[in-house]
Assembly symmetry: C2
Homo-oligomer: 393 residues x 2
């Protein structure tokens, strides 16, 4: 029992991995707000606020825009299990872990999946989607906007147009992109989109913001079979978030407090300014890494601002470097997933974690550690290159 | 935008509904703890602590004892969708909303459900389960320990024995009971049990503690088909909580901080003392209500300590009374569900909300409001009756 009764006392970390990112103190304060009931008239107002704030961040007028009561992956499951029925043909684009996860979930929902594969570390070419759309009439085209496993950015507009031309719904994973770069749900013709709170929204993990277009909702309401998941059944969940206010499950009150606060902070900064900040900090990091001779996994033009997937220099030990970052600098970066384990680092510059101070410290730390590990880098060159980017603004 | 940029400022409530209950300030403080990563070595320790604390509260040695990343209903779904496969015969006992919800979820998982129904407001007689077990070989017997919709307490031992005698797994909903009255997972032969954080554990809503016996886990591992839900698939989730530490989904870090703290507080109080407190406060409330001429829905012996389901006196308007409690006393109690809407109040005495002060204030408030509403009650009689209970201890 002794150990268990010790006070909760986690270390203070600089979170520069694939999420969670650091939270603003105002968000943490919101988490500590005493609870009110999930049907309290005052809470219903907080729900309305949160929906309206989410619509502004998703750039949508979709009525059905809510946080699902689970982490980002529950948003993936919620969108797929509501939109897909047994035997439906769906296209899923796969160029990383999260595209592959969509295939898994679609198959569990008994869809017939047509995979559009691309080498991990590269974006999906729209021509491949066009080709797949010719093969069969499909209900849905699913794709990841920001592949957290590889750091690849995916252009969406052309693929969205293709889906619409073929009468298919367009489902987008915006887990890592939302709040860090433009996500234009209405303009890009996205029918269903999900995200997560702990990436560029910089709230704690635990909610999955989702939005469904009227077209998607109509399809859900005309399903032939019930949604396999009761917990994620949008025909029930929407009655709690809508005018009816019918109890479905107890909302995660504190997480909604925190999300509301995080969204307020985002809109106070302004989406345009926020995206510019994410881009600038990415450019500074990239300049610094280039000065160290460290390359990116994705080619230029396919790199995410908020998740920098970089090649571990030959001969350098992944774990030793990450351990030193954690132990000596209390700084977390991510390792590679799947085939990139031990080959790639994933450096997150998400939301509150995307700051000049974090980047300069990370570059300094990495320089010091790599020099100690026998991968010599020119002292000061990375900082100089990053600083040049900031000074040229 | 104006309204949306106002600071989060919910009222301060006394939460005496069917959950959430009030949180201890230490739990709220834990919620505000800055994040660390979900694979940080320090977080893995916090996960281990939380599992061990949960085992003590569930009274089990089950290795697979974890919080599911969703609210209580996700625990119901997680247990059912992992244990049940298409075509399985299962018995579900139904005497309220949550038994009915189990049927719904089991059917979505394509089980063949044999319902054992009892009048809402009454416990399930073991003989009815024995009868149902004779009809067919079943895989699972599912039952609610504390029916939040009706305030009914269910004895479990005899039904657990029956299930085991017939080679069936025993699944128990302990959403409202865990932390408020004895829940003996190992002793009662429970194979799977789920709860929620916002009832007698007095943490915010957002996690569903679950535990699976080795027998249940073996059944899951020998499934013929994959679990329909990827998010809740215990064969994957257990690899993150187990020694392998394989990433599945990002854990809701802050909620786990809060649960750990809430569990520490529970064990500091001691389970025995905590249950005695819940019983005593229930007895005091019941004495006060009796003095006012207000009856319970369930008969004596079938009443929950932590959720007091009481009859609204004839001629008294449900909404008017609850509005006055909320507006004038900032006190939340619950209304009735289903056929009991407008007929029943549900007064929660859960965890931190189960205090002498809350009971005396509630009885005083109710007395004042009922007298104003034309249902005359003798001034001071309820308080006297409740006080007598406390003084006789």
């Amino acid at each position: 029992m002794d150990k268990l009764i010790t006070e909760l006392s986690p270390p203070r970390r600089i979170l520069m991995g694939p999420g969670p990112s650091n939270c603003h103190p105002r968000v943490l304060k919101a988490m500590a707000t005493p609870l009110i009931g999930h049907l309290d008239p005052e809470f219903l107002e907080i729900m309305n606020d949160t929906q309206e704030l989410l619509r502004r961040v998703f750039k949508t007028e979709n009525q059905l825009t809510i946080p699902i009561s689970g982490t980002g992956s529950s948003g993936m499951e919620a969108t797929i299990c509501n939109l897909v029925e047994e035997g439906d043909d769906v296209i899923v684009c796969v160029n990383g872990t999260f595209g592959a996860r969509m295939v898994d979930i679609a198959e569990r929902n008994r869809a017939r999946v047509i995979r559009v594969d691309e080498k991990w570390g590269r974006a999906i070419p729209p021509e491949k989607v066009a080709e797949a759309l010719k093969s069969r009439k499909v209900k849905l085209v699913a794709i990841v906007h920001a592949e957290t496993s590889t750091g690849v950015y995916q252009q969406l507009e052309e693929i969205g147009c293709l889906a619409r031309e073929h009468g298919a719904l367009f489902l987008v994973d915006a887990v890592t992109s939302l709040g860090g770069c433009p996500v234009e749900v209405d303009k890009w013709g996205i029918d269903a989109c999900y995200s997560a709170t702990q990436k560029c929204l910089s709230a704690p993990p635990g909610l999955a913001p989702v939005t469904f277009s009227p077209r998607a909702l109509e399809m859900i309401e005309n399903r032939k079979t019930r949604v396999p998941s009761w917990y994620l059944d949008m025909t029930l969940v929407k009655k709690y978030w809508g005018k009816e206010r019918v109890y479905h499950h107890t909302a995660p009150i504190s997480m909604i407090y925190a999300l509301r606060e995080a969204l307020r902070i985002i809109l106070e900064e302004g989406l345009k300014a926020r995206f510019a900040r994410h881009e600038l900090n990415h450019r500074a990091l990239a300049a610094g890494l280039e000065a160290m001779g460290i390359d990116y996994l994705p080619p230029r033009g396919e790199r995410l601002w908020m998740l920098n997937s970089i090649m571990i220099p030959a001969g350098v030990d992944d774990n030793k470097v990450r351990s030193q970052l954690l132990d000596n600098y209390s700084m977390e970066i991510g390792g590679g997933l799947g085939e990139f384990k031990g080959k790639v680092w994933r450096v997150g510059l998400m939301g509150e974690s995307s700051t000049q101070a974090n980047i300069i410290l990370f570059l300094s730390a990495l320089e010091e550690i790599l020099n100690g590990e026998g991968y010599p880098v020119e002292v000061g060159a990375a900082i100089q290159a990053a600083s040049d980017i900031y000074n040229s603004e």
